[in-house]
Assembly symmetry: C2
Homo-oligomer: 335 residues x 2
């Protein structure tokens, strides 16, 4: 028989993992009836608290707060699934908040998670919250940054980070378009507030400089939404001279770019070449796609973030060197 | 000057709405420094607690738990945005959990939200949890069901519900294919555990009966995912005789259906007609779409659910008749 987990005990006793923890640690109020149910399940399943469970402080909530800028973006949900598959084994549950790229909303979610005493926070920041993130870290809340860095390098260096090599990815994507002979390139990007936006912008400019192109690229800055991709194409098509290629710096915006190009009866890549940071699942619906893209690895990023979370939760007061994991990419072409 | 909201006060004081509430109600521990910040913000913004805020019990958390079966489905995020736009005005924040169509996971999330003392729960159930939902309702937790009913009609009738006319929508979609002359129809559906799956299945069968078609339709039951749509098409293409039309009963599965049809070099609708319950944003990437679909109204459903939530939270112990709001659809064709 495989070893029972605290999650299985909680399920058998029809309570949460936090309640099982309270019963085993004899901390906090639990009714006699519930106590009995839990202990019966512990006995029946022959549950042995794991090393991690034993190392936990008694007031754990078994709740991990995840704040992302766009909860319906499959990229962030891929990251979340990776985290969950790792931390779920130890009985932790994820609770999500969506900042919608709004720093004020993100700040309120951070406060709420702190008040709810989550055991750790995973943050893909919309930007603008270096101060409160720093205060939470000072207060001992384990925080892992995913996908995006804080605005101040100094503040961020104290925290665990799992991110992508954004500048390099954008450099490669843009270089591919330049190698195909394009000179006038439209750039669809998110806000500079997000580190991914800043770094990808820098990668595009490096590629242009490396190719000796001195003119400024045509840049549209949105909020990483499908609608932004649509609006960007409208803007580009109205400009004179038009760009002949578009580099779109996130998957959601890329879908919008493709939709608007097709609606205008233009062919990809003959009338407008497109390179996307991130795969667009629907891209293969295109008759003649020929789309450049770099595929991302959100699930793997999530499992790594999950491991870092467990490490941090276990370490408690003990000092740990912050970890920094950067994922790299190759450019692919959709056929 | 427009009236200040509790949310604006919280933002100005750099605390959560729950903390503002605690300060104003003099309940729970709040440090002197924070109290001063809050009262300064209250004075500066001339904040007057709304009728709803005044009617709240003092121990409100200003947190509403939202449990959906697929957090990255834009449909559920549309509902959530509608809810948030209504309840956010009154200072409530949404916290999300994703059951991934897994009743056990949904049960743990329900327990966790109860322990965290959320002020209300919005549930799009994966099924199998009538008992615990009933217990929560008995314990006085306001619950609004969205999109999906409980399995027992009796248990569900006690709760507020905002849903769609699933049987009617599926009937209309299928009838349109039958009117075009199709006889052999492949049906892609979710699990019968979900009320939407059961009702849509019934609508398809009603349409077949109404047209005098006695043979059983070819049905693929998945978990409402894009991969399920892909697997269903593979199954249908391998069957003999092949269906000439597919009715796909949710937007995620419809994307998978379209992807796999295109990958097989088939044209829509000439080689395979498709009718989708729910719009597929990427559908217009198709060269010749001719796709039937019914568009859903998740945002409007969400605002209605938000209104019902506020009504329930305000009512407190007072008995209210459960509300039942059913949204209807028209069939459209993508050109």
């Amino acid at each position: 028989m495989s070893k029972a987990t605290i999650k299985q005990v909680a399920a058998a006793a029809e309570v949460s993992t936090a309640t099982v923890s309270r019963v085993l640690n004899e901390s906090g109020y639990v009714s006699e009836e519930v106590k009995e149910r839990v202990m019966e399940a512990v006995d029946r399943l022959n549950y042995q608290p794991s090393a991690i469970a034993r190392s936990l402080k008694q007031d754990k909530t078994f709740m991990i707060g995840v704040i992302v800028p766009d909860i319906s973006n499959p990229y962030f949900m891929g990251i979340s699934r990776g985290i969950e598959d790792v931390v779920g084994q130890e009985g932790f549950q994820l609770m999500f908040g969506s900042s919608d790229e709004n720093p004020g909303k993100e700040e309120r979610l951070l406060q709420l998670f702190q008040e709810k005493r989550v055991d750790a926070i995973v943050l893909a920041t919309a930007g603008g919250n270096d101060d409160i993130v720093g205060r939470l870290a000072d207060a001992g809340v384990p925080i892992v940054l995913v996908d995006r860095k804080l605005e101040s390098a100094e503040a961020g260096e104290r925290l665990d980070l799992v991110a992508e090599d954004n500048a390099e990815g954008a450099f490669r994507l843009t270089s591919r378009l330049l190698e195909d002979g394009h000179v006038r390139i439209g750039v669809v990007n998110g806000p500079a507030r997000a580190s991914t936006g800043r770094e990808r912008d820098e990668g595009v400019r490096q590629a242009l400089r490396a190719r000796g192109i001195a003119s400024e690229p045509l840049v549209y800055n949105g909020e990483f939404s499908t609608e932004d991709g649509i609006r960007a194409v409208r803007r580009f098509l109205a400009s004179d001279p038009r760009p002949t290629a578009i580099v779109s710096l996130n998957n959601r915006m890329s879908l919008g770019v493709l939709l608007e190009i097709v609606r205008n009866g233009l062919r990809i890549p003959d009338d407008m070449a497109v390179a996307s940071f991130g795969e667009v699942e629907a891209g293969s619906l295109l008759k003649e796609p020929g789309l450049y893209y770099i595929d991302q690895h959100p699930y793997e990023m999530g499992t790594r973030a999950g491991e870092l979370l467990l490490r941090r939760i276990q370490a408690k007061e003990e000092k740990l060197e912050p970890a920094c994991e950067i994922f790299r990419h190759e450019v692919n072409r959709l056929n």
